[in-house]
């Protein structure tokens, strides 16, 4: 702001966020990730790298997963955004969330929201992915704690249980 002669004004954004019509003001240079966390107050979406390499910030945008650190908040005006906060039914858990708990697929848990949102998109598209397909789909999500073994198993378990 300090070098700009005319201040850059915030822009209104109206989107469907986790099924709710939501309006907020965001700086035009602000990422969707930052707007979700700092403006809307949904901190379940995590920042691990801010450059598209870790997937901790994964959200669904019009039904496709994206790294929210590489989306501008201003772009989601009129669109549908789904985050980890919208994944569970009221007073319940999504089958993937349950499977992650039962398979001990999280250690520190920082990567977990991103993996869950990404895995949900996979199972919605392909109810029965094989191990290779799961690993390929989740390759944009880094986990440093688990070695992925239990994450892959949790996704397989959720896939088996939702049929």
């Amino acid at each position: 702001m300090t070098q700009q002669e005319t201040p850059v004004r915030k822009v209104p954004v109206a989107c469907t966020l986790n099924g709710q019509q939501t309006e907020f003001l965001a700086a035009p240079y602000q990422s969707l990730l930052e707007a979700l966390r700092e403006v809307v107050g949904l901190t379940g979406t995590k920042e691990g790298c801010n450059d598209g390499n870790c997937g901790a910030c994964t959200v669904s945008l019009d039904g496709r997963i994206v790294d929210s650190c590489l989306v501008l908040a201003a772009e989601v005006d009129g669109r549908q955004v789904d985050t980890i906060e919208g994944m569970a039914p009221p007073h319940g858990l999504h089958p993937l969330q349950q499977a992650f708990l039962e398979e001990a697929a999280l250690q520190c848990g920082i990567c977990t929201p991103g993996f869950l949102v990404a895995a949900r998109a996979l199972l919605e598209r392909e109810p029965h992915p094989d191990e290779h397909r799961i690993r390929l789909w989740l390759a944009g999500n880094l986990c440093r704690c688990t070695g992925y073994d239990k994450i892959v198993r949790a996704v397989q378990r959720a896939a088996d249980e939702t049929t």
Binding site: Q4, Y29, N50, I65, A139
Partner: protein, 290 residues
């Protein structure tokens, strides 16, 4: 990050006008997977970002024998279109390996080309498909062959106010096949240590190469058309020996540096191997396309 405004034009003319007004201080924006990273890394400052995703010409994918890919069409739309995937497997090779699933939801082949990274995965397959870049600017439209588009790392032929509208890929001739492969140390989410795109068109006899095109990534200041290796292919039998020799020639056209992604020697070796391997895949596709 220096604050910038977000502009979402609905027409090409609007987009061109904003770009012309701001010059170097504005950039088109497709998936943002390069430009946002570079902005945050302090590579440059902008006053305005011009989102191309509201401009119809930049967001449509048209298959009509030839293929027109709007400059802002994300990779997934290319590889999930089964007709495109069947007709242009060589392009799919690249579109399906840029980044991971999240990146492919956003990243465009147009952005890949305009970013002009030497290691870009999308450019070599476009080159071997003899793709033409359709450019629009204050002076109207011009058409640039993709192999002439990049002029150096991060530099292109685009002038002030100019933008890429679409990529036009000619309809593959009978007996045409193409393939792209890159080498990375991991299996995903890496930038190419070296990449090779190859295409060949078989003669009516089905065993002789009528013409071929080879392009190399990450072994020079831009993705480059390997003219000598390409010329060598014409009239040769489509055999492993020919492919190996083409690889040797291509490797002499590479001018790699050594860096954190690999040594120069390794890159030269990779050009040989990947040329051989992609030509073999291209041959299979050419045979299937007769």
């Amino acid at each position: 990050m220096h604050p910038f405004i977000y502009v979402a034009p609905r027409t090409l003319d609007e987009a061109v006008a904003v770009l012309e007004q701001h010059g170097e201080r504005a950039r088109p924006f497709a998936g943002g997977t390069d430009v946002l990273v570079q902005l945050r890394g302090g590579r440059f400052d902008l006053d305005a970002i011009v989102d191309m995703k509201g401009v119809p010409e930049a967001t449509t994918l048209e298959l009509n024998g030839s293929l027109r890919i709007g400059a802002a069409v994300p990779c997934y739309q290319v590889y999930e279109n089964s007709a495109v995937a069947a007709a242009f497997p060589g392009l799919i090779d690249a579109a399906s390996l840029i980044g991971g699933i999240q990146i492919q939801s956003r990243a465009s082949l147009g952005g890949n080309l305009c970013n002009a990274s030497p290691s870009a995965d999308g450019i070599c397959p476009l080159i071997v498909h003899s793709t033409v870049a359709v450019v629009r600017g204050p002076q109207g439209e011009r058409r640039v062959p993709v192999e002439e588009f990049c002029t150096g790392p991060g530099a292109t032929v685009l002038e002030r106010g100019e933008l890429l509208v679409a990529l036009e890929v000619p309809a593959p001739a009978r007996g045409f096949g193409a393939a792209y492969q890159r080498f990375i140390p991991r299996n995903e989410m890496d930038i190419a240590v070296a990449g090779v795109g190859s295409a060949l068109t078989l003669d009516t006899d089905g065993t002789t190469i009528a013409s071929g095109r080879i392009a190399l990534a990450a072994v020079g200041p831009t993705p480059l058309f390997a003219a000598k290796a390409s010329a060598f292919l014409a009239g040769k039998p489509a055999t492993p020996e020919t492919f190996a020799e083409a690889g040797e020639i291509a490797s002499t056209e590479a001018t790699p540096i050594g860096d954190m992604r690999g040594t120069a020697e390794h890159r030269v070796e990779l050009v040989k191997v990947l040329t051989r391997r992609t030509l073999a895949v291209a041959l299979g596709r050419a045979q299937a396309n007769r």
